[in-house]
Every structure is written in C-alpha cells, then in structure tokens.
Symmetry: C2
Subunit: 368 residues, 2 copies
C-alpha cells in the first residue's frame, strides 16, 4: 500500500476544512486496532495516532509498541509517547488543528485543548475524512476482501457438509467449530462474534449462540465473517435442518431472497444508498412484512466490519453509490416466536452494477 | 444483580455533579457490548443507552434489539429509537443533563446539544461515575471472574500437557486451538485476541500470533483470557519449549517472578496504585532492567478486559486500592532480539491483602 500517497490525499482536504494539521485517531476498535491510522501507516497495534501537518507526518504510540512500530511504520517518523514526548509538543504554535469528531471523546478533546492553550492552537472537530477515502476501495483492498470472503465461502461448505451435527451439539459448540475452522483455513480470526441461532431464536437479528442443543426440523441462521490481513468478510445464510421445511418459513425465505436479488441486480453507481435500501425494502413491504425488516439493508466493509457507507432507509445517511465501494446486502424478516430469515452477501460496485463477491449457494432454502 | 439499586447509587451522585439527569453510554466495546449500560440494566446487546432522571430510568436501543431487550431489561422502561422516538424527547426542559465525557464522542455531543437547544437543556460532560462504582466488585461479580479464571487455569493445564506440538504447528494454530478449547470448557469466547509468541517475538508485549512454526529450544509466551457471562479473565504465562532453557532467559524469568510476588504479597487496601506498581518496578530496576519493563503493572478487570483501576507508575493515574477491587499483576522484561518474559495473575483485594485467584503454576520456568 502507498501510505504516503494516502496521507497526501488527506492533506489535500486541509484548506477545505480550514485546518493546518489533522490528528488522526479511531475509537471504533479500542484495545484491538486503530483502523484510520492503520489505513494511513500500516500499523496494526491497538494504540496509535497520526499527526499530519502541512509538510510532515508523525506517528505516535506507547512503549508496548516500540518494536512493532519500528517494523510496521515506514511512512513516517515514530514517536513513543511519554511524559516528555506528547502529541501536543509536535503541534505548531498559532495553528488550527483538526481532530476527527467521530473518533475523539469529549474528555480527550478537553485535555487536548488545555494542553494546547499556551500555544494558541485552535482545536477544530472535523468529519471523518479518512473514512471518506476508505469508503472507496483500491483494488488491493478489494482483493483482500475477496480472499477473506473466499475463506468464508469454503467455511460455509464445510459447515453444511460436515460441521452441523443436529441433536449432538449446541449452538455454542457450532460457533466454536466455525471460529476454529476459519483459522485453520487461514484467517486470523472472526471479524465479529459468530451468530448461530436456531428455532425461534433466528428472529433475533443479533442473536448470541446459546448452550442449547441444535434440534432437527428447525431453521438455522449463521452470520459469520473473518479477518484476513486486517480486512473483513461478512456473510449470512439461513438453512433448514431436516428434509421438510415449514411452508411458511420457505415462503419467507423466498421473499427475502427476492428482496436481496432485486437490490443486487438493481444497484448502480450514481444511485443513493437510500434508493438501494428501498429496492429490497419494497419487495418485503409488498409481501406484507414491511414492519419485520427492522434493520438497514447493509453497511460498508473494509478494515471495520461496519464502515461507510451505511445502506439504510434513513435519509440522513444517504450517500452516493460509487464505483469500488464494498458493502453488504442483507435483508431479513424476523417474526417473534416463529423465526427469522436473513441472507447476506458482499457486493463491490462496478461501472455497470454490483459484482457479488459472495459465492455461497442461496438460490433455495438449503436442507441439511 | 440488583439493577435498581445500582441505578440508585448513580442517582445519588447527581447533586455532587450538578446534574438533573445522566445519559449512560459506553464506547469501550463498539459493535460488541455497552458495559456501563450492561452493569446498570443487564442488557448484553451492542447498542444501548440508559437515561437516568431524578425519578425514572429509561433504556434506549434500536429495532434489532427489541426482542432481546424485552427479555433482558427488567429494571426500566424500554424505548426503541426511531425518527419519532429519541433520547432528546425524554429529557426534561430547563434541566442539566450529564453525559460521560469518556464515553461520548465530540460529534455526538454536538448533535445532542443541537437537538436539545430548544428545550433549554444544558449538556454537561462528567466523569465516568459508573466506572467508579464498577471499580469495586460485589461478590457475585468476583465469583464470575473467579469462574472465568478457573476455566483459564484448566486451559493452561491442557496447553502444557497436550496442545503444544513443537515443529508441528504455527503460533496461529496454537492460538486457534486455545480459543477453541476455551469455548469447549464453557467460556463464551476470548476476552481479547490470544497472544502466542515464540522466540524473540516474546519481546513484543502485544505480539500477534504469526504463521510461523513453533520450534524447539525457544521461549513461548501465552497471554489469554475468556468471557464468562460477560466477565473476563486474563492470564500470562511464559514457558520454555525443551529441557535446557537459556540461562539468561531463566535469570530474567526469576526477576519477573520476584517482582510479581513482591507486588502480590505487598499490596494492601489504602495504598495507592502507583505504590503497588513501584513494588514490582523496583525489583526489576534493582536487577538492571528498569528500562525493559515498558508498560503498567496491571489493570482492573470486570465487564471490560481493561478497566479501572490502572496500576501504573504515572502519578496522574493514582487511585486508592480498596477492598474488592480486582486487577491484574503483570510485570515483564522485554529485550529486543532476545526475548521477553511476562507473568500475569488476577488479584482481588481483601482486608488483609491480595487474594490471588489465578492458580496456574509459575514457581519455576516450566519446560514443555
């Protein structure tokens, strides 16, 4: 990755934002990684900041990461923070410093302002311009997402052919098997806690796997993703355990599938994300389940499992769909006390429409 | 857990803070859980806020969690947020609303202030008073941490007796086995990404497991923890693969062990956390490695893997050690290009000193 070029693209926004420098931070994965900073520097540790000035860029971390930063960060000078080495020290006097409002806490802003007050520095919260860049992927990034999803597709094959042993394992056992096998297949780990839900628990969009035995003659919903070299995959499939699916359940499955395919074939660059959401939502509403699709159609994927763009019905989230965006398409119908269906793919937007990079089968309700 | 009582204890702080209501939020585990809110309501989902007023408490989440919140949240009324149902609507006019400065972003504060401006509400960032309560555990919580650590101890036994197959597996393979086995032992998952480091990679305090074969005649450092019913464990052990450890490495092991035991036997209620850190740090410094212990001695554990108190040498973090605090004691020495040793236990502070709840062996450098 050409980190210096990415940093330069951030710097190009300074005059528009009215800032002389930007402190890049990220609160989305505390204790784990700093995606905005990783994007600009390659650093994969859990604590890091990048100060971009008009003519320089300085990376800050703590003593735990001195060796690792020395290996990973080649774009910029590395400073190890201490009482005597602070970010504030590196900020020029009489300047305006941008901070990313979405990724700095109120307490840290206050601390920062007070440590900079002597230097006559104005601290100005700005929008997440790093995410604005990250929203559109370069081909290296798309290739990583594609590889992460390919592992997930192989994993799904393994699940339906071997891993599910009804009446002999719990939802938690299956989730453990899934997360173990993804690592054996080469992933560094799950990109979120794997969802395994059976029975009427499939009606909880964010169900947690339970210590409950997986039974025959019941739906099984699996939502899983992996990390590969920092990039994520994300996929949901809903299957039936047994040979005779409930008819109403199959009917719902077909509605969700139609909603998904309508969005996947209809999405084009230049539309808004709200229009994309509507493609799927209308299908579900026209089939009488409008109130049972309780979440957004999708979300961007990349260094974060949920990143820009949000693909939802909320007008305030509307964004133009652009070439090389990567996001999920995941309509669902959830009926309390009965069950739920969700089908989720990742698409990459190309000039002529969506490239669906998820290859796992979905054309009919799979029976296992 | 008596959630109403916990909420009442938060409310008792209102007059001291000069607020009429408090919005409880938590940014520490985005996409995963909201520990401050879980502590006060029992909600285990990834999106939730609790608005505590002088005479009421209202829980807010989104549509994805409507069913789950109905099952989990019994302390308070549940509101599902939408265009027509917002937190701002529930805030009383002409009041001062506290928000937790550490757990609200600058952007959200600005949004909140503008949506409340018509109601003449002052939004006031305050310290994390929920964490102040969480710092001292009740016996139910200690029991959960103890159970989580007991799983971790059984897991360590399994690791040294069975799981490590030198020359036949990579660091990543071993990490995958560890995270699989913790779930088989009843944990819901890892409380952080398991660290498996061998060779000179042990000198990276936050090493990531690599696709590198585990060799004979090398150190192996494992830092791992589990979640059990929302509470964490955390343990590090450093062992030697083979029968003839490097002498210098053994010497370092003994220094770190002595540092740890000095802190564990010396800590008493009423000391400051900086004094506890110094107990261990002095032993390492007196043995000539003061500059190689590059992190804090420890951190609180509970609903977060890193929570209050911080046990470090930095004066600004100093806190009084109190009965029923639970924190890690984890000195280390890291020598670039050679290797590192860290030994980590969890202690619970009792009237007469530390109860060490970690039971895994450490008295000598284990050879496997």
């Amino acid at each position: 990755m050409d980190y210096k070029k990415r940093i330069e693209r951030v710097r190009e926004k300074f005059s528009e934002l009215g800032i002389d420098a930007l402190l890049v931070s990220d609160l989305s994965r505390p204790e784990q990684s700093v995606p905005n900073v990783q994007y600009l520097t390659g650093f994969t540790g859990s604590n890091g900041y990048l100060l971009i000035t008009s003519d320089d860029a300085i990376f800050f971390t703590d003593g735990r990461y001195e060796i690792q930063a020395g290996q990973e960060v080649t774009c910029c000078e590395v400073h190890i923070m201490s009482k005597d080495v602070t970010i504030a020290d590196a900020v020029k006097e009489n300047s305006t410093l941008g901070v990313i409002g979405d990724h700095i806490t109120v307490t840290n802003l206050q601390r920062f302002e007070s440590s900079l007050s002597k230097k006559n520095v104005t601290v100005k919260p700005v929008k997440n311009i790093v995410m604005d860049l990250r929203k559109v992927k370069d081909e290296d990034e798309i290739e990583l997402i594609r590889k992460a999803q390919a592992i997930t597709d192989r994993l799904f094959e393994l699940i339906i052919n071997e891993l599910v042993r009804p009446e002999k394992m719990t939802e938690l056992d299956l989730a453990a098997e899934i997360e173990y096998q993804m690592k054996k297949l080469g992933a560094s780990g799950p990109s979120f806690d794997t969802i395994v839900a059976t029975g009427d628990h499939t009606a909880l969009p964010h169900a947690k796997p339970r210590r409950v035995v997986i039974k025959n003659n019941t739906p099984l919903l699996i939502d899983m993703g992996v990390y590969l070299d920092g990039y994520v995959s994300d996929m949901t499939r809903t299957v039936w355990i047994g040979n005779h699916p409930n008819e109403e359940f199959e009917r719902i499955y077909r509605i969700v599938l139609e909603a998904q395919k309508t969005a996947e074939t209809g999405v084009k660059p230049g539309m808004t994300t709200v229009e994309v959401d509507k493609l799927a939502r209308d299908v579900i509403a026209n089939n009488g389940h409008g109130d049972k699709f309780v979440h957004s159609l999708g979300h961007g994927v990349g260094l974060n499992i949920h990143e820009a763009p949000i693909v939802s019905s909320r007008p305030e989230t509307a964004t133009e769909v652009r070439e090389n965006m990567a996001f999920t398409v995941e309509p669902g119908i959830y009926i309390e006390g009965f069950g739920g269906v969700r089908i989720e793919d990742i698409v990459v937007i190309r000039a002529d429409g969506a490239e669906v990079i998820t290859k796992s089968p979905k054309e009919e309700l799979i029976k296992i």
